[in-house]
């Protein structure tokens, strides 16, 4: 009787572990960044910018807005990473769900050193296909040099997490 119980315990444990592992793998499966990278959006001066121009780099696409305080709070870190790692092939791209004048004003205040594109709510809809079911902000997608989604993040990154992800891809 005792032996049988242990078999059941082991079986249940193995099943739970396998389930957990499967979930973890499923969550990290690279999703296709193709539709995102083929977007073309106006910058604050109205110039159309295609995301395809940054193919081959490690691209960090950040959906944000000036009316989103947690978005603004993590952006100085993005500016720093862009300054320190841009030469090694890192490219931040901000997609603002906002009015161009507000975006321009904030970009000036922050000395933003990467493009701030104007996305509107249509762009946020696209982020739904990449895991942002609630269309909430900030939502950030890290794309590797081959164009595959390496990581996505809803809400601000935990300190050091984005930098570690970028370092592993550069």
């Amino acid at each position: 009787m005792r032996n049988k119980n242990w078999i059941w315990i082991t079986a249940a444990g193995m099943l739970a572990l396998a389930g957990g592992a499967a979930l973890a793998v499923w969550d990290q499966t690279p999703r296709d960044a193709g539709p995102l990278m083929s977007l073309s959006l106006p910058d604050t001066s109205g110039q159309q910018q295609s995301l395809a121009q940054w193919k081959g780099k490690v691209v960090v696409v950040n959906f944000w807005a000036t009316w989103c305080a947690p978005c603004r709070e993590e952006m100085p870190g993005f500016v720093r990473d862009q300054r320190e790692l841009g030469a090694r092939g890192l490219q931040f791209v901000g997609i603002a769900v906002d009015q161009p004048d507000k975006v321009e004003q904030f970009a000036k205040e922050l000395d933003l050193n990467y493009p701030a594109l104007i996305g509107g709510y249509g762009a946020v809809e696209l982020s739904k296909t990449l895991g942002n079911q609630l269309s909430a902000l900030p939502f950030t997608i890290v794309i590797d040099r081959k164009g595959a989604v390496a990581a996505t993040q809803l809400g601000p990154f935990k300190p050091g997490k984005l930098r570690a992800t970028i370092d592993s891809l550069l």
Partner: protein, 163 residues
């Protein structure tokens, strides 16, 4: 018997570990649950609009907009209660709402017994560090006939009846 207990304990421990792993991920509420909107008629010309905001979530006062259909209801811009003042480094002084927000909408153009559609546009954020795009919610409110008692709020939690 003793081995049975171990079995239960072991399975329980496994469950706990996985439940813990699942709940460690951030799972914010959808906006219509974080910012529950309801409305009821107080009399043939007054609708009480209400947001019940979940703990850990807040709405921006200056992003709150109400409209009522048909337009002939005659809703003027309602006066909103004052919120908590927050100093925002970019926008300056902003007011936010937590808990319940109640706004009375005066509708001079309605006829007793008619139905109106109340639409609320709101925008808010969660303390866990995310913001939602502007969200629109609509509620149909039947207005009482002249002289009748106000309708009861449709969403009194059952618990309250037993307290």
């Amino acid at each position: 018997m003793r081995s049975r207990r171990w079995l239960v304990a072991a399975l329980g421990a496994i469950l706990f570990v996985f439940a813990g792993a699942a709940s460690a991920q951030v799972s914010p509420l959808p906006p219509e649950k974080a910012f529950r909107f309801s409305a009821r008629a107080l009399d043939p010309h007054t609708v009480e609009a209400r947001f019940s905001i979940a703990d850990g979530y807040y709405l921006y006062r200056d992003k709150l907009r109400f409209t009522v259909e048909p337009a002939a209801s005659g809703l003027a811009v309602p006066s909103l209660p004052s919120g908590r003042i927050k100093e925002d480094p970019f926008f300056g002084r902003v007011e936010t709402y937590r808990g319940n927000v109640i706004v009375n909408l005066q509708l001079p153009g309605t006829a007793p017994g008619q139905k109106v559609i109340v639409q609320a546009e709101s925008q808010g954020c969660a303390d866990l560090g995310i913001c939602y795009p502007p969200n629109i919610q609509r509620v149909t409110v039947p207005l009482p006939a002249a002289g009748s008692a106000p309708t009861r709020p449709d969403e009194i939690p059952r618990k309250q009846w037993f307290q």
